[in-house]
Each structure stands twice: as structure tokens, then as C-alpha cells.
């Protein structure tokens, strides 16, 4: 495997002015990204997540050449984004979920044609790519409508097409499913998986929607306070941080909270109770045995933690 993205001990400091008293202001240096090393190989589909202000967008900005790192080296498709921004720009595609790159008042198809000039894509290659993506994203019905008239989902599909027309090796996506309805979300995810699988495009995705990550990403990088605090598969992260399980019991009748050694009742709703325990301390069988010994149980299930819980836990512990 060859690396398409390499960050080696990269930091990015910002100078901020902080108010001190009525008029005086103090210069302060804040590290948005602090000594990050990361390597992403061709064809990977990586989720890059973290709370607001963790350094996600600063990282993406350094990878696209918008920002220059304070220290460390960045290589993207073998290029130094700092010195070869223009060259790099034609090898990457970028989609900002909240901001369209399309020409607001012109028909969608015109934006694609304009981008052909901006990226200097040969006409025949442009035509072939356009045909393929229009089919895949089902853009045909609104190809000739002004962008301002498109729904959010249609516009996002248009933006995805726009970002891919010049055959980029890497696609950066910032919150690509934000604000979309369930159907549009599913469609965007399906398309991304397909582009990654069939075209071999490396995808780096930042998102708050963890179901995106769960459905799409083979690898998850978690960043907080400018540090990478986890880098691994989604399954790994679940086993590492998702040590807890929850037993949900439906009792014959509502009663006081159960008392089970090693487990804790986290919620009671009528006859239904939730008991959380750590697998490293007690087994599910032991918890269930203790419950059955105390009350008459009608039904019972074990819940795995979802990724949202896991990530919240990582943030709060990290």
C-alpha cells in the first residue's frame, strides 16, 4: 500500500488576542493541532471525528493547502501542500456540507462546465466523467435547474459530482450529510462507498453524524484538543472503549430498583429497568442470574453500546 496522505509530527498554532481588562489585550498562542502523525493509504475510507474545536478542520485545511503547518511535514499525493497548492488542488476534491461550490444562479450543468475550465479537464474526459456521475447520482431530472432551486439533498449530490469531475485521488468531505433527510443520507453514503470501492478514491470524512462513520468507514481517527486519541477500526474502538453492556429487563410488575453486584441501574421506566455493567468486572450471565433471583422477569435483552456512546466516553475520559 502506498500512502496518499502523510502527516509527520504536524502542529498548527494560532495567535489569539484575549481580552484582559477593558482595553488591554493579551496575545496567546493556542495549538489547534498538536504534534499529529497520521498515514492514510490509497483507497482507504477514513472517518475523522472529534468535538467542535478539536482540530478537525485545521487538519483538513493543512491537507488541502489552505493553511500552512507551524511545524512538521505534510505530504499529500507526494506533494507539499504549502509549496504546490495549485498542483495539489487538481488532485483533490473537497465538499463542504454547509457551503456549496456551485454557481447559485446558474443551471447545475453550467457549474460543471465552469469547473471543467477551472480544473482544465480535457473535454472528452469531462464528458465521460459527467455521464458516469450524472447516472450514479441521478442528477438528470434537475441538471438544467438553477442551483438555488434545488433541495438540500439535490444540491449535495451536485456538489459531490462537482468535486469528482476532475478525477481527484482524494476526496475530503466535511459534514456531507448535515441537514439531509434519511433517504438523501442513505443515497449519499451509498454513493461514497461506491466511489471508494469502484474508483479507488481515498476518502477522508469529518462528521458529527456517527452513523455515517459506522456505515462507511473502515477506519476511525478520533481527535481531541489537537491530539489523535484513537486510530483504529470501528470494531476495535468499540471493544476498547465499549467495555460496558446494558441489560434491559421487563419485569412482571413495576418495583424498586434492582440491586445487582457489579451492575448499576441507570434508568427505570415502569416495569422496565436498564442495568449497566462492565464486562471486565462481571459477566452477563452473572448479572442475569442475579436479576432472575430477585424478581419475576418477563423479557430480557442485552444492548451493545452504540458508537455515539463510545465516542462520548472517549471525549469525556480523554
Amino acid at each position: 500500500m502506498t500512502a496518499v496522505i502523510e502527516l509527520d509530527r504536524v502542529s498548527k498554532d494560532f495567535v489569539v488576542m484575549r481580552k484582559k481588562g477593558r482595553l488591554r489585550r493579551e496575545r496567546m498562542t493556542v495549538a489547534a493541532v498538536d504534534d499529529i502523525s497520521l498515514r492514510i493509504d490509497t483507497g482507504e475510507l477514513v472517518g475523522y471525528i472529534g468535538p467542535n474545536g478539536a482540530g478537525k478542520s485545521t487538519t483538513i485545511k493543512m491537507l488541502t493547502g489552505i493553511l500552512v503547518p507551524s511545524s512538521g511535514t505534510v505530504r499529500v499525493v507526494g506533494l507539499d501542500p504549502q509549496r504546490r497548492r495549485v498542483e495539489l488542488a487538481s488532485r483533490i476534491g473537497v465538499v463542504f456540507g454547509q457551503r456549496t461550490q456551485l454557481w447559485w444562479d446558474l443551471p447545475l450543468i453550467d457549474s460543471f462546465d465552469l469547473l471543467r475550465h477551472v480544473y482544465r479537464v480535457p473535454a472528452d474526459r469531462h464528458r465521460a466523467n459527467l455521464r458516469r456521475f450524472v447516472d450514479l447520482l441521478e442528477l438528470e431530472p434537475f441538471l438544467h435547474s438553477p442551483v438555488r432551486q434545488l433541495s438540500l439533498g439535490q444540491r449535495m449530490r451536485g456538489d459531490l459530482c462537482a468535486a469528482l469531475l476532475h478525477d481527484p485521488a482524494i476526496l475530503y468531505l466535511d459534514e456531507p450529510t448535515i441537514g439531509l433527510d434519511v433517504v438523501s443520507k442513505a443515497r449519499v453514503r451509498e454513493f461514497l462507498a461506491q466511489v471508494n470501492r469502484d474508483e479507488g478514491v481515498t476518502i477522508l470524512l469529518t462528521t458529527h453524524d456517527l452513523s455515517d462513520v459506522e456505515r462507511l468507514c473502515s477506519r476511525l481517527v478520533v481527535i481531541d484538543h489537537g491530539h489523535v486519541i484513537h486510530d483504529g477500526t470501528v470494531a476495535e474502538i468499540k471493544t476498547m472503549f465499549g467495555d460496558t453492556r446494558t441489560v434491559v429487563v421487563d419485569l412482571e410488575e413495576a418495583g424498586p430498583s434492582l440491586v445487582v453486584p457489579g451492575a448499576e441501574v441507570v434508568e427505570v421506566d415502569g416495569p422496565r429497568q436498564w442495568l449497566r455493567f462492565r464486562r471486565s468486572e462481571v459477566t452477563a450471565a452473572e448479572v442475569i442470574a442475579a436479576v432472575v433471583g430477585q424478581a419475576r422477569v418477563r423479557d430480557l435483552s442485552i444492548e451493545e453500546p452504540d458508537i455515539e456512546d463510545v465516542v462520548t466516553r472517549i471525549y469525556t475520559s480523554g
Partner: protein, 270 residues
């Protein structure tokens, strides 16, 4: 050279797209263009009224001052139409949209100027051009080849000088986002100042407009040659011919300022 050609091509493609987008709101488009045409008569009226009170201004006749007005106007409004959009960069930085320019394989300056190209501004250029035609027809000048060449180079040089001031002013807003009006002093102020002979200004202001923000080279010095007028302050004769060189120097400075500004942006973020 190839770089220049691709840049111009990109400018044209993006500007045409903007014109087509604006054309969707065509009644506003036409109304605005018409008022832009008339608004430029304001400065012209000032000259007309002044020459109602006196016959000449510092030894310059009405027609000669109108010649300055027309050359200044054409140079300024060409810059206004094709480059002045760059003054909006402060808004791009505030809104975070400057990033979107950096992720494209093209220069940021050409993208801003072309994306915000406003065809309606050409209404002002049209007014200045009409005045120019009229003044040329009535001006009593013996057109030697030398004068023709100097005259032909006036408008392009002036356009480059004004455009460079716009770009340098916009570059400064990368450091001080709210200083937009400061640049206006030198662009709009430069346009206003160059509508009158430099002779009337105080010494310090004359030196400033010759040596620091060299708008005196937009029209005053070459006009001395074209109109065959003496220089009351006795600047060396060659000063009348160096407008193209001044323009080139300004363009180089503007390019350096913009490159420096973008580098500053990329190292500090917004």
C-alpha cells in the same frame, strides 16, 4: 506567457458566468447600469460649475481639464470594472469563503475579480469614453507620432496603476479587516485628484501623488507632453514618458503584496 493566457481565459469564463447569473435579474441590472452611467456626471458637473466661475484653472483650459477627466475616468473605470472587486476580500475572509478559492487550481486574485465581475460598472466606463471622444474632437492638439504613442499608453498605464492600488489596498485588509475605506482614499481619492491638474495641489500632496501613490503618472505627466504644456515645477523632461514603467513597477509591487497577503492568510488562518 502561457500562464497569463490561462489566467485570462479563466477570467473570461468566470466573468461570463457572472454576467449570465446577473442577467437573471435583468430589470435591476439595467436600472443599475443606467444610474451608474449618470452618477459619473457628478464629477463632470463640478468641473463645469468651476469653469462657470473662472476661465482657466492654474493655466489649464476647460478642454484640457476635461481631457484629464476623461483619461482619469477611463483608466479608473477600467480598473473599477475588472479589478476593483478585489476590495471585497475582507468579506470573503470574514465569511470564511476565501478557503474555497484556495482549494481550486487557480490564482486567488483572478478568481475573486472574475467571480464578482459586475458588467453594470461598464456604464461608468461608457460615460468616460463618450467624454473622451468629444474632447479629442475639440481639443486643439498637433498629433505627432510621439504624442500619439504617449497618449495610447496613457489609459493602459493608468488602468494598471489604479488596479495595483486596489490590489495593494485589498492586501492590507488581510491584516486589518476593517480598513477597507482606507484603500478607497487612494483609489477614489486618486481618481478625484487626477481630474484636476496637479499644479493646484499643495507641495506635500503633489509629492505624495508622484512618489508614494503615483497617480500623477496616470495622466498629469503624460498629458503635459501630449498637450505641450510646461511643467511649472520643472520636473525633468523624461518624467513625462515613464508612466508605463511606473505602471509596471506598481504591478510588481501589487503582485508581491498579494502573494505576501495570501501567505499571511495561509499561516495564520482567519
Amino acid at each position: 506567457m502561457a500562464e497569463l493566457a490561462t489566467t485570462l481565459h479563466l477570467y473570461r469564463v468566470l466573468a461570463v458566468a457572472k454576467v449570465r447569473a446577473d442577467w437573471q435579474y435583468r430589470s435591476q441590472f439595467l436600472l443599475y447600469m443606467t444610474t451608474q452611467f449618470f452618477i459619473t456626471f457628478l464629477d463632470f458637473l463640478q468641473i463645469a460649475v468651476i469653469f462657470g466661475a473662472v476661465d482657466s484653472l492654474a493655466g489649464w483650459s476647460l478642454l484640457e481639464v476635461v481631457f484629464l477627466y476623461a483619461t482619469s475616468g477611463m483608466a479608473f473605470y477600467l480598473g473599477d470594472a475588472f479589478i476593483s472587486q478585489v476590495e471585497r476580500v475582507g468579506g470573503y475572509i470574514k465569511a470564511g469563503t476565501f478557503d474555497a478559492l484556495l482549494i481550486r487550481p487557480a490564482g486567488t486574485l483572478v478568481q475573486i475579480c472574475a467571480n464578482d465581475f459586475a458588467f453594470r460598472r461598464l456604464g461608468k466606463l461608457l460615460q468616460a469614453s463618450i467624454v473622451m471622444v468629444i474632447v479629442l474632437a475639440r481639443l486643439d492638439v498637433e498629433w505627432t507620432p510621439g504624442r500619439l504613442v504617449v497618449f495610447a499608453l496613457m489609459i493602459p498605464s493608468g488602468t494598471v496603476i489604479f488596479s495595483s492600488i486596489w490590489v495593494i489596498g485589498a492586501s492590507i485588509t488581510f491584516w486589518t479587516v476593517d480598513s477597507g475605506e482606507l484603500a478607497n482614499t487612494f483609489t477614489y481619492g486618486g481618481n478625484f485628484a487626477t481630474q484636476y491638474p496637479l499644479d493646484i495641489l499643495g507641495t506635500w500632496l503633489r509629492r505624495f501623488l508622484t512618489l508614494v501613490v503615483p497617480t500623477a503618472f496616470v495622466n498629469y505627466f503624460p498629458a503635459l507632453y501630449v498637450l505641450g504644456k510646461p511643467d511649472p515645477f520643472g520636473a525633468p523632461g523624461w518624467v513625462r514618458f515613464i508612466s508605463p514603467l511606473v505602471a509596471l513597477t506598481m504591478a510588481v509591487a501589487a503582485r508581491a503584496a498579494w502573494t505576501g497577503a495570501v501567505r499571511h492568510y495561509r499561516s495564520t488562518g482567519s
